[in-house]
Each structure stands twice: as C-alpha cells, then as structure tokens.
C-alpha cells in the first residue's frame, strides 16, 4: 500500500525554482527513490508507510537531511523543509549556489578602492576593452553588478589593481542578465589577490549543473544534465540559451553519452557557432569515437585571437586534443606545435578550480602566469572604490540625506529656528571650505557671510534627491568665492574653482555650470601671460619651501592642475611619492610654456628631498608626530596611502594637505610675495 505525500523545500528567493537532487532512504538506509526536488515547488510522490531519510545534495555542497514519517492511516500533511538562510535576501540564489561560501570578511577599503574592473570583447578579430557598462552596488560584504550582454562574441571581465593580479573571467553566453559578485576571499590569495569574482546567470538549472559538476557530485549532475538535455531535445528553439546548451553538452561529453551529445551539439551550433567550445565538444566526441572526419575539425580548433573557450573544461579538452594530434606523427606539424604552445600558455595561467575560464594576464591574448599587478593608464577602468555608493565594505553608506525633510520644510518657510540649526551644523564646514579656497582669512570670513545669504536666497532649489545639503552649501560657497575673485582677474583661482565645480560629482546636479564656463573663459584673455607668471612664482615658492612633500604634491595636483582631491585619491593612492612627483612635473610641463618656470631645477631639488627620510626632510612637528611609522623610510618610496591613516577619510585628508600648504602660503612669510599675485 502506498500513501501519496507531498514534499516541499522552501528556499528564498521564493520566486526562483532550482532543481536539487534528492534521495529517500528507508530505515535500513537503502535507497527507495531518487528524484529532482525543485525549490519552492511541491513534489508529489507515493511511499509505503514507514520512516524515511530524505537527503538532498544542495549545489552549495551542503547535505540537507530530514526525517519523514509516513503513517499508514489518515491524511498526511505536506512535508515542508527550509533550506539554508541567506545572509541577504537579494543574494539568496547566490548563497544557495554556494557563491558566498567561506568566512565573510570585509574587503579592505584600500584594496577595494584601487581595484578596478572593465569589460573586454572582440570586434573584427580584435580585442577591445570598454568601461564596465553597469554599476556596482554594495550588499553586505559583497559588491554586486548586473548586466546583459548580446550573444555575439566572447566577453571577459577583467579585474586588477596594485594588489590584485590582473585576471580575466569569462562571462557566460546567457540570454538572461548576469550577476557579478565581488567579495573578499582568503582562498588562493596568490592568484586572486584576495578578491573573488563570482558570475551567475539567471538560469538556475544551468548554474546548479555547473556547481554539481564542479564539486564532483556525479549523480546529481547527471540528473540535472538529463533535465537540460531533454529540454534541449524536446523544444530546441523555445528556450534558446547557448550557455545552457554548452553546459549540457560538456556534461554529456564527460559522461560519454555521444548519441545525445550529437543532437544537443547540433542545437548548440545553431545557437552559438561562434563559440570555440562548440567546436571543441564536437571534435572531442569525434576523436573519442574514432571518427575519421575529425581531420577537418583541426582547422576549426585552431585558436584565433578572438576565440577562447568560455569554460575551463573546454581548454582542458582542447589541450588533450592537440596533445593527441601532436603524438600522431602524421599530424604533427609546425602549426600544430604553435597551437599547442598557444593553449599551453593559457593553461599555465588558468585557475583550474574555476568552472568558467579564469586566467591571469594583461590582455586576453597574453595570458601571464606571473600575475601582473598595477593600474593601466587607460580611461576605461571602473574603480570599485570610486563608485559613490561603494565607499567601504561592509556598511557601504547609501546617499543618506544629512537633513530631515521636516527641517527642509521649515527652512523653506524661513523658520528662524531652522536657520539657526543649519547655521550651527554647517558654519564650521563652510568656514574650512572657504579658508582652503581664499587667499586670506579675512576674505574667507567675508565670503562665509555672503555664502549664507546665497544659500538662503537659493534654498528653493535644494533638492535632497540630487545631493545632500553639505554639497549644496559647498557649491554656493564655491560660487561665492568665484564671484569674489572673478573681477580681480585671478586666473589661477578662477580656473581652479571652475575645474572643481565641473568635476565635483556632488555638484553635477546643480546648474549654472554653463554660466561659469562662460565666465571662466572670459578670464583667459590678454592677461593670461601675466597670470602664468604668477602661477610660475607660486610653483617656485611651493617647491622651494619646506612643506611636507606629500602635502606639496597634493597641492600641486589639486591647486596647480585643478584636480579634485577625490581624483587625486582615485588615481594616485597607491603610487609612491617619487611616481606622483614625476607625474606632477610631467603634467606641469604640459600646462606651462617653456621658460616660465625652471621646472627641471625644481624637480631635481624636490627629488633630492625625496631621497631623504621623513625625519630628515619634514620639519613640521605635527606631521612628524602623525606618521611615526614612516620616520626612517625613504620618502620617495612611501605611498600616498601611507599618509592616509584612516582610509575612509582619505579624500578629506588630501583636502587638508592642500589647505595646509595654502595656509602656509598665505601666512606672513609669503604675504608680500603673494600680494603681488592676489590683489
């Protein structure tokens, strides 16, 4: 007598159904039945009364074990089990698949900040890199990005940084969107640089098959592969998905089910003939069966610059095939040797623990097992740390408004108490902001009052959804400052302020940029020659005096070249002072016509200073006290990052260094000198 029972595995996300391999064992642990158990879907089966053990192998590797008692009489309520709870609801599928395995630990901010990603794809047989086309969001200790790619060629994600070896991760040819997870890892740190990349498609069945296969769970993998292959055979075009077809074919090849492989690989060919994987699968199955027509396939297997397999298994099969051909004296040619060596170079740089092709290298055609590090001088890099909402991991702050809606409402109504509150909150910030931008303290104090008037006049334009109040207030402080110096034709300041206004991300949402551009351009008139002389003098003063070198460099970039402190941090954080100084002088040479300032002499003297230690070259006791660990280090070898004791405030630190130098310049010692240039 059999009793109908229903079994259900509840697993977030509740909208996704994932096949899981399950078996029921009787009291003697003999297998009674094997079946696929879809998450969040009820499975009906019939069992004889008794006690059973349900064992479900999850794709994460976890073994779910539940006891089931089937009574001989009465109605049997459904058996509902709950899978592992994800740490974050948005990452539940990834958690279920095992992508979040390992002890979570925060990604060090410094590593994250300098780590970049970009996208590579092949156009007309030539690899091209483009900026990562999607945003990264912070979810717990994970950075997540989602993107959809056209099914026309192989795409690679490249990740790298000063501490992270450059590596490529093949992106699966999926019709659905891809989800990319970046998180810290302690696994294979030499290869990964401590940063793991996980790619998931929305095709849960294909993902489960890949995980089962990777963990060596042959029976569960065969079960899911069977599902995929059957779907592919029965309704080939209804769910055209090259990635799914590819995984099914690889598994059929592995399990030597050649007949089914033939029908599935035809479908794969229709969907994505551009995949080298498809040719590898066909050739391998032909060779394994001794099919003589395999000869012509050798040409298909010749890897060209645009053709790299998506899956690691593909590279393995390719190498096996080429080895086989190589061992046959009739087929051993120089070209074959070249191809074998081509594959061997990839094989040497590949992470074989990954299912999808992951290899070290700077270019898709140049695998490099040594794991090159650094930051290429390309514009298409997306720095993970520079994305506004990725300030740190964990606890990436969202763009929280810094004033409540209630306070904003009261401000709009000109409530004096609300105005007092705002004044109390932002007076200090604005004063500091202006002091860093004005040539004298009295100027800053005057402009502070004007700034508040401007803020109140334009209060209606404040929109919290576009930025916080601090950004709004600083914006008007900049406007005030610029209006103050414009009539005085101080080109340097006008340019710097204009540069700051246009490059500051926080101010993008506010208007008046065109107006500023117009006014700044007017400044560059007949007096530019004189102003350049002023600039040259300032440079001379800055570099000849004993300001701490890291502060001088920050001043140079942020004041003389018009960089924002944020850009300074983004691009130069991990560079040594020597590298930063060389870059600064190179850029200054481009900005200043020859003869304005003896840059070579200044550079030589500054570089000499960098050869000394911090104790020898930095006279400011406050600076010395701040960096005790750097006292005996050669300044040239120290990095900007070592001067930022709190990574989260590195941009603020740079602003402070710039301000420090500015303040010294405006001090008594240089008042007379500067007075000539700043009326």
């Amino acid at each position: 007598m059999s009793v109908p029972i229903s079994i259900r595995l509840e697993q977030p996300p509740s909208t996704v159904t994932v096949p899981v391999f399950a078996e029921l064992l009787d009291g003697d642990l003999c297998p009674v039945t094997l079946f696929e158990l879809y998450t969040n879907r009820t499975k009906e089966i019939e069992l004889a009364p008794g006690r059973y053990l349900l064992r479900a192998r999850l794709p994460s590797g976890e073994l779910l074990r539940k006891s089931i008692a089937v009574p001989s009489e009465g109605r049997v309520p459904p058996f509902v089990f709950h899978g592992p709870s994800p740490p974050n609801a948005d990452l539940s599928l990834q958690h279920f698949l095992g992508d979040l395995k390992g002890t979570p630990h925060p990604l060090p901010y410094r590593d994250l900040e300098s780590t970049w990603v970009r996208l590579w794809h092949c156009v007309n047989q030539k690899w091209e890199s483009t900026r990562w086309p999607a945003r990264f969001h912070g979810l717990g200790d994970v950075a997540v990005s989602e993107l959809s790619l056209p099914l026309d060629c192989v795409y690679f994600l490249q990740i790298g940084g000063p501490l992270v070896p450059h590596r490529f991760v093949a992106l699966p040819p999926s019709r659905e969107s891809l989800r990319i997870l970046i998180r810290a890892t302690r696994h294979q740190v030499g290869f990964t640089g401590g940063v793991a990349v996980r790619v998931t498609t929305a095709d849960a069945e294909a993902e489960v098959l890949m995980r089962y296969d990777a963990m060596g769970a042959t029976s569960p993998a065969a079960f899911v592969a069977e599902l995929l292959a059957t779907q592919l055979e029965e309704s080939p075009d209804s769910k055209a998905n090259p990635n799914r077809a590819l995984l099914a074919c690889y598994f059929l090849l592995k399990s030597r089910d050649y007949e089914r492989l033939d029908s599935c690989s035809i479908e794969l060919d229709k969907q994505a003939s551009w995949l080298l994987d498809a040719n590898i699968i066909k050739a391998t199955s032909d060779v394994a069966r001794g099919n003589s027509s395999a000869n012509w396939r050798l040409q298909d297997l010749v890897p060209s610059s645009s053709r790299v397999p998506i899956y690691t298994a593909g590279l393995r099969y390719l190498q096996d095939l080429l080895r086989e051909f190589r061992l046959d004296p009739r087929k051993h040619t120089a070209e074959l040797n070249l191809n074998f060596n081509w594959v061997a170079r990839y094989a040497n740089a590949v992470d074989w623990t990954e299912s999808r092709l992951t290899f070290l290298g700077t270019h898709p055609e140049q695998p490099d097992a040594r794991g090159p590090r650094g930051t290429p001088n390309d514009k298409d890099l997306l720095f993970l740390g520079t994305v506004n909402h990725l300030k740190s991991i964990p606890a990436w702050p969202s763009a929280n408004p810094d004033v409540s809606e209630d306070l904003i409402g009261r401000l709009h109504q000109r409530d004096p108490a609300a105005l007092d509150e705002m004044y109390r909150r932002y007076q200090r910030v604005l004063r500091g902001y202006l002091r860093g931008r004005c040539t004298s303290l009295s100027d800053a104090e005057d402009l502070l009052q004007t700034t508040w008037i401007l803020i109140l006049e334009n209060l209606d334009r404040f929109d919290p959804s576009k930025g916080n109040f601090a950004a709004f207030a600083k914006y008007w402080a900049s406007i005030t400052c610029k209006r103050h110096y414009d009539p005085r034709n101080v080109w340097l300041h006008a340019t710097v302020l204009f540069s700051q206004l246009t490059r500051e991300p926080d101010s993008e949402s506010f208007d008046q940029r065109e107006d500023l551009a117009e006014r700044a351009s007017k400044l560059r008139g007949s007096e530019q020659v004189e102003l350049r002389k002023s600039l040259a003098n300032i440079i001379r003063i800055v570099f000849e005096e004993s300001n701490p070198p890291h502060q001088v460099l920050a001043f140079g970039f942020c004041r003389l070249l018009g960089w924002t402190p944020k850009r300074f941090v983004d691009e130069l954080y991990f560079q040594t002072l020597r590298e930063v100084a060389e870059r600064l002088f190179a850029d200054l040479r481009q900005e200043l016509p020859e003869g304005n300032v003896p840059l070579s002499g200044l550079q030589a003297r500054f570089m000499n200073r960098l050869d000394g230690t911090l104790l020898e070259e930095v006279l400011d006791p406050a600076t010395r006290n701040r960096y005790p660990a750097l006292h005996l280090q050669e300044l040239a070898r120290t990095r900007i990052s070592e001067y930022c004791t709190e990574p989260d405030t590195s941009v603020r630190n740079v602003s402070h260094w710039v301000y420090s130098v500015t303040r010294r310049l405006t001090g008594k010692r240089f008042a007379k000198e500067l007075g000539r240039y700043y009326p």
Partner: protein, 396 residues
C-alpha cells in the same frame, strides 16, 4: 617489488569472489619520499632551485597504508585482488600474506619495470581493474602533470626522471582493462620553470599508440585541483590518503538498492572525498575527480555497515552531570547498541550506519529522560541535540 601475487600467494581470506568469468584487480603503488637530488638527499649536487622541493616523510607511509588496505580490506567480488606492485623511496619492509618483502626503490628503472608487469597483468582481461596510486612530489606545467621519481634532477632535463601522468594515462588507453582507477596524492602547483621542459615533461612509461581518446571507465582521484598543494605530516601521513582510506572504509559508502550491500562507487568516493578532507582544516585542500567516468562503477564492497561518528548533546548542559546516553536501533528499541558512561557529555561514539533512537537517562529526578530519533549515515558525522525538561522532586 611484487608484494602480492595471487598466483604465487593464493587468494585472500577476506575477499568474496563472484562466480563466472571475473577479472582481477592489479595495483601499482608508488610512494616517493626520498629525492636524491633535492635538499636532504645524498647526492653531491642539487637539482635547480625551482624544483628543489625537499624530502617527504609521509609519502612512503601513505603508499604502504594504501597497499595494506588493498591487501587486508579490499573486496570486489567481480575483480578480486590479483597483484600489488609496491615501490617506495626509501625502501620499506612490507608484511604480505606469507612473507615480508622490501619494496623496490622508486627509481625510473624500477618504476618502468613494475609498470610493464602491471600493464601486462591488467591487459590480460577486459574485466580487470587497474589501480594506480602515487604519492610524492608533483609539478604541473600547463595541464601536464609530472610525478617526480627518486632520481628527479639526475640529468640535465630533470623531468627525465619523472612520470608524465597525462601520457601514462594515455598509454593506459590501450590497456584492455575497462576499469582503471587512479589515485594521485601529489601537489599540482604550476611552475613557470617547468614550462621550459614542456616538450619533454616526463616519461610515458609505455608506447603512445594511434590516436584515440580513452574510452575506459577511468576516474582520476586527484589530491588537489590543478595549481593546488597537497599536504601531509610525518605523524599522520598525507591528508589525501587518510581521507581516501576513510572513504574506502565506509565514509564514501552507500547502500545498493539491488543487493542491499554497502558499496563504494566512483561517484560516492568522488562526493565524499572533499567533505572528509575538509575536516583536516586549514590550509584548505580541494581534491578533484577527473577523467571519464559514469560514477556507477563499484570500487569496493564493505563487509557490513560502515561506522560513522555520532555526536549527541543535550540541553541544558547541566544535564550532562547525571545523564547517560544510550542508542538503540529503531527496529529493536529495547536493544541497547551503544551506551555512554554517566556524567560524560557531549557524547561521541562510532556507530554502525542505521536508524537509531538516542536516549538520555537520569538517575536523579532533576531531569526527565528524553529521546530523539537519529539517522547515522555516511559520510557523517551525524549529530543530534536532545532537549531535556527539568522536573520537580515528584517527578512531574
């Protein structure tokens, strides 16, 4: 050295044999710990520094353990043990059925000779099972895996004294034995220096025949993923072999739905190995199963239910003082199969796989006796927590 030969020594006592045309299992077991041309070796010079990995203590021990398991516990009625070729460096004494033998040194010449014998035996019958076990240093270049022998580094091309495992596997493609099991307990770290020797990366040990892919059931149980390291210690042997033997002794077993015997299949071993090796802790080692296989081939039939570690705890912890644990099969609840001493807890016991009722009993009336159902199934360990209610002096 052939430490066991069925024709010479007679059949084993413990193994069952199927009736009819059966094959035999022939094993080639190699454990290399002494490397003459590496630091600590007795040669006057050393191999180039990139390949100077030093001496290993655990490999010969692991090879002997594996050979001992084959001799004393291996049971495959369809392919009983036929022979064991054992080579170790340093040479160890191996007590076989009747005599003790000194294993041959793991030099290229000896390995070649043993391989030839092993190949011939395996080749004699398609029903034969070929077992290849290697423990020692390994190096990878691209995907080629070289298994280093005792005299590695003797010649200008150091890999002249190594086995190119990929080629050897390929050579075995021409062997008639339809089931071939490979256990490779070695590192698979890639070396840029090794890449320079890729054209002559070890010996194939046989003739590479005409082009045809291997169509045998030939899983390769690798101690680690490509690029990874395999670990061991002088006292405990190698992790992989320890985990392998634990799985072979039952942790990878499952019950056959047909014969109801406890069997170890290639799939069961492949799934259990990573779970068992995880228990060794950090640094992580990730065994891999490669090669072609369907997963259903039976490697070993266990004589009875395997033993699995069980841990039973109770809550509150105060109950441990006066509690005593007992375990009885569900099918015979009055038969106490396992019992603990009073006052010990949590209780850990190795129990035969099965379905049990675990009970915690008390002499005093402070706590009420309680029980729970527990399934003890490989690979384990199984665990249960019994909630114990407090009661008053009247026992209510």
């Amino acid at each position: 050295m052939t430490v066991y030969d069925r024709e010479r020594d007679g059949p084993l006592d413990h193994g069952r044999e199927a009736i009819g045309n059966v094959g035999f299992t022939h094993a080639l077991v190699i454990g290399i710990g002494r490397y003459t041309y590496m630091t600590g070796g007795h040669a006057g010079r050393l191999v180039e520094s990139a390949f100077d990995f030093g001496q290993i203590v655990s490999s010969p021990v692991a090879a002997r353990e594996f050979a001992l398991w084959l001799l004393e516990e291996f049971n495959n009625p369809r392919a009983p043990l036929g022979s064991i070729e054992l080579l170790t460096s340093p040479e160890i004494t191996f007590q076989s059925l009747r005599d003790s033998y000194e294993a041959s040194a793991g030099t290229l010449e000896n390995v070649q000779e043993a391989f030839d014998k092993w190949f011939e035996r395996c080749h004699s019958n398609p029903a034969n099972v070929a077992v290849f076990y290697f423990s020692g240093h390994g190096v990878m270049a691209a995907l080629e895996h070289a298994l280093l022998l005792e005299n590695f580094g003797k010649w200008p091309n150091p890999f002249a004294h190594a086995i190119n495992f990929n080629h050897m596997h390929r050579v075995m493609g021409s062997c008639k034995a339809e089931t071939q099991l490979y256990f490779i307990d070695s590192c698979r770290e890639s070396s840029p220096d090794a890449y320079n020797y890729l054209d002559n990366f070890g010996q194939a040990l046989g003739k590479l025949g005409a082009m045809s892919m291997n169509c045998h059931e030939a899983p390769i149980f690798q101690a680690t993923a490509p690029g990874g390291e395999a670990y061991g210690s002088a006292s405990c042997g190698t992790r992989f072999t320890a985990a392998l033997l634990a799985c072979l002794r039952g942790r990878g077993a499952r019950r056959s739905a047909v014969t109801h015997e406890w069997v170890l299949t290639t799939s069961g071993l492949s799934e259990a190995l990573p779970l068992v090796i995880c228990e060794f802790g950090s640094p992580a080692q990730t065994p891999r199963t490669e090669g072609s296989h369907c997963g259903r081939i039976i490697i070993h039939v266990l004589p009875g239910p395997p033993e699995v570690e069980v841990c039973i705890s109770c809550s509150p912890e105060a109950a441990y003082k006066s509690g005593r644990f007992i375990m009885a099969p569900v099918s015979a609840p009055t038969h106490v199969a396992y019992a603990s001493e009073r006052g010990n807890g949590p209780w850990t016991v190795r129990a035969e796989a099965g379905h049990y009722i675990a009970t915690v009993e008390f002499e005093t009336t402070e706590f009420a006796s309680s029980y729970c159902e527990i399934w003890v199934d490989p690979p384990g360990p199984s665990a249960a927590l019994i909630q114990v209610p407090r009661q008053d002096a009247k026992g209510t």
